[in-house]
């Protein structure tokens, strides 16, 4: 007999049509899975009641894979095949990884993402992460008694494209339908119910096992806006373990250690760190493979001293995030603590001191992200009634931009920006006396407008006639929480305005997006050439325009022969300007530039003479 959960009014599902959705916090040190049952979000524990799954995967020679506590138990005896903190390597090349030399793995540098050679073959971080997700997937199906429909996986706010894609791939490899990647701080804010709170600005301080994130979230009318994020993708609890490890090695005067001993001492260091959250001292004992004994006592004062610089390292990103958000410490209404490492008293203290208020820490810092992700997944799966399905936080799947001269796409909002988002960019007029500007809004990753998807066109009129480049038009792109894009253009001197609203993702399915992305990778080289060609053409047109204007205005400064030479070079450029030979265009442009150098100098002198004519030195405001 299936077990039932309480649904929202009117939302009981038909049998076998329940949409089971989960939120997954794929962490560096630990991973969790949570779901919403009978309206309440809860982390799903394993058969032994343990909520966390250590993000550790051990590959065995017979092809079996151990994940979680089983792998953790064997990590010191089989360090080469026991992968910890794989999240640090997601979408990263070997050169991007801090302390790679300290990791006991046999890294294989591969283009784009490093790989690890294990007894079961070479594994990519994506495969390692997928093993963790598979275990969580199975746990969820056992807990919910049915097939899982959808999942939301969280990622650090500033995971780049490669890292996000790697995370999504891992989800797919584990058989999950990944509805969305959600930024961890946003998930934490959702878990704390800040979406129900009064309006205000909140900071999310997330010190996990391997990443530090500080995010400034602004809440208005129930909508979150990430106003600034900063952090350090190579700073986390692991570094505190490492500090303790170094302290142990120094205090015990240990010779360089083998991989197994290193792993053993790192585990002991971590245990000591965790114990110091509630105790004033921790004893570290270990028997090394060399027969040496380690027996040390670490007190909290020493621990604070040796990790002081790590705590301090989190302060600079906090200041930066506030600066980026143009906010002061007093503007922040609350600080959410996320990540097991925030249990350390010195962290709580430093954050409290910085923001001059006690941080929010009444939810388990290990669970908040998973709980928030589960709540988001529940909404996305359609289990909430209209009106309570708070505005969704999404990312823009493909970049949004406008067409500039020569058919080039200028990206204004890069893909994967979280929405709502607003970005502005200033453009100048291209021609002398230009009174209008037409805008073509496009979406896509390619360099040429013709390869992108056209979304809308609109015109801005009423620009006062000015010299080319003098008219300044500010173009504002804004995508609201529903994915609706509005584009507004405003001329700065006259405030002439025009705008248009479009729905960018309309009609673009996942397969379209995938194809467009694939195209953009495949055509990267062609696109660069095309861009160079178009830029050369645009520059040539601009130069011809300028020369023509100058000849009309100051042609009298030239002798007939000089004028003829300039006209000849201009004609030569005009002849190739429309071609696809960007080198020829550049050469002709340079020739015309050289031919007009003298002319430009004389125009300058003439201009200065005109300006100074009839004035005394003293009257000049120098």
């Amino acid at each position: 007999m299936a077990l039932l959960q309480i649904a929202e009014p009117g939302l009981s599902t038909a049998p076998h049509e329940r949409r089971l959705a989960v939120g997954i916090d794929l962490g560096t040190t630990n991973s969790l899975i949570a779901t919403v049952r009978s309206g309440a979000a809860a982390v799903l524990p394993d058969a032994r009641g343990r909520p966390l799954l250590p993000s550790i995967v051990r590959y065995l020679a017979d092809g079996r894979v151990e994940v979680g506590y089983a792998a953790e138990a064997r990590q010191s005896e089989d360090p080469k095949n026991t992968i910890v903190s794989a999240k640090r390597y997601m979408g990263r090349a070997l050169k991007d990884v801090a302390h790679a030399e300290h990791a006991p793995y046999d890294f294989v540098d591969a283009p784009g993402m490093l790989q690890i050679r294990t007894v079961a073959g070479v594994k990519s971080p994506v495969e390692v992460s997928a093993e963790i997700l598979k275990v969580l997937h199975a746990r969820a199906e056992a807990s919910l008694g049915d097939k899982l429909a959808d999942a939301v996986i969280t990622v650090p706010a500033y995971f780049d494209d490669a890292q996000r894609q790697a995370t999504k791939d891992a989800g797919r490899l584990a058989g999950l339908n990944v509805l969305r990647l959600l930024n961890e701080p946003t998930a934490a804010a959702i878990a704390y119910g800040l979406d129900n709170a009064a309006e205000g600005t909140y900071a999310v301080y997330d010190l996990g096992g391997g990443t530090f994130d500080i995010s400034i979230l602004k809440l208005s009318k129930g909508v979150f806006e990430v106003v600034a994020t900063s952090g350090d993708s190579a700073l986390g609890g692991d570094d505190f373990d490492h500090r303790v490890f170094c302290w142990v090695a120094e205090e015990a005067k240990l010779a360089p250690l083998c991989a197994g001993d290193m792993r053993l001492l790192l585990v002991k260091s971590r245990e000591a760190k965790e114990s110091l959250t509630t105790h004033s001292e921790a004893r570290i004992t270990a028997k090394l493979s060399t027969g040496e004994f380690v027996d040390l006592v670490l007190d909290s004062e020493t621990f604070c001293r040796i990790t002081h610089h790590l705590v301090q390292k989190t302060l600079a990103p906090m200041r930066k995030a506030l600066r980026d958000a143009q906010l002061g410490v007093d503007d922040v209404k609350g600080v959410v603590m996320v990540g097991g490492s925030t249990r350390m008293p010195q962290i709580q203290h430093a954050v409290g001191e910085f923001f001059r208020r006690d941080p929010l820490n009444n939810l388990d810092p290990d669970k908040v992200v998973a709980l928030g992700a589960a709540m988001q997944a529940d909404v996305l799966a359609g289990n909430k009634p209209a009106g309570e399905d708070w505005l969704l936080l999404d990312v823009i799947p493909l970049s949004l931009g406008i067409e500039t001269m020569g058919g080039l796409a200028e990206k204004i909002i890069p893909r994967n920006s979280t929405i709502p988002v607003a970005r502005a960019q200033e453009f100048t007029t291209f021609k002398d006396g230009q009174t209008g500007m037409s805008f073509h809004v496009v979406q896509g990753e390619r360099e040429l407008v013709s390869d992108c998807r056209s979304l809308a066109r609109f015109e801005l009129k009423g620009i006062p006639p000015m010299a080319a480049g003098a008219g300044r038009v500010r173009v504002m792109f804004q995508v609201d929480a529903d994915g609706l894009l509005s584009v507004a253009a405003e001329e700065r001197t006259t405030n002439a305005q025009a705008s248009v609203t479009v729905k960018p993702s309309y009609g673009l399915g996942d397969t379209d997006i995938e194809r467009m992305l694939r195209d953009s990778f495949e055509h990267a080289k062609d696109d660069m050439h095309a861009r160079a060609r178009h830029e050369a053409r645009v520059d040539a047109q601009r130069l011809l325009e300028a020369v023509r204007t100058a000849l009309n205005a100051d042609g009298a400064l030239l002798s007939a022969a000089e004028r003829e030479e300039i006209e000849r070079q201009a004609a030569a450029l005009a002849a190739v300007a429309g071609s696809n030979e960007h080198r020829a265009i550049r050469q002709a442009s340079e020739a015309l530039n050289r031919a007009t150098e003298e002319f430009a100098g004389r125009r300058m002198d003439a201009g200065v003479r005109r300006a100074l004519a009839g004035r005394k030195i003293a009257s000049l405001d120098l």
């Binding site: 007999m1 959960q5 649904a7 309206g39 309440a40």
Partner: protein, 107 residues
């Protein structure tokens, strides 16, 4: 005949209501669907209609709409755990048979 909750079910219901922060009663009902005729409805109720039958069991208010009542008379709602799975279970004296999954039934 009434519709009742076991003490355990009532405790869980109250807990869920507390977490949800609103709601006036627990709504039980049946509707036609599923692989063998009827399916249970188990929802939070934010409003009670004048036609609803009202029960109270271990401090939990339960409402049942008049059409569903004949099919639910004497039903007891329990909360159980099966392995990792946990949730509510109907014990309904009116049913003749149910489909393998237990989510739908016949009377």
């Amino acid at each position: 005949m009434a519709v009742t909750l076991t003490e355990k079910a009532a405790a869980h219901v109250q807990n869920f209501f507390a977490k949800r922060g609103k709601g006036v009663a627990l709504r039980l009902g049946v509707r036609t669907s599923g692989c063998s005729g009827f399916a249970y409805k188990l929802e939070f109720a934010d409003a009670v209609s004048p036609d609803d039958h009202l029960f109270e069991s271990h401090g939990v208010k339960v409402v049942v709409d008049p059409k569903s009542l004949p099919f639910l008379e004497g039903t007891q709602l329990d909360f159980t755990r099966e392995g990792l799975n946990e949730g509510f279970k109907f014990s309904n004296p009116n049913i003749k048979d149910e489909c393998g999954c237990g989510e739908s039934f016949n009377v």
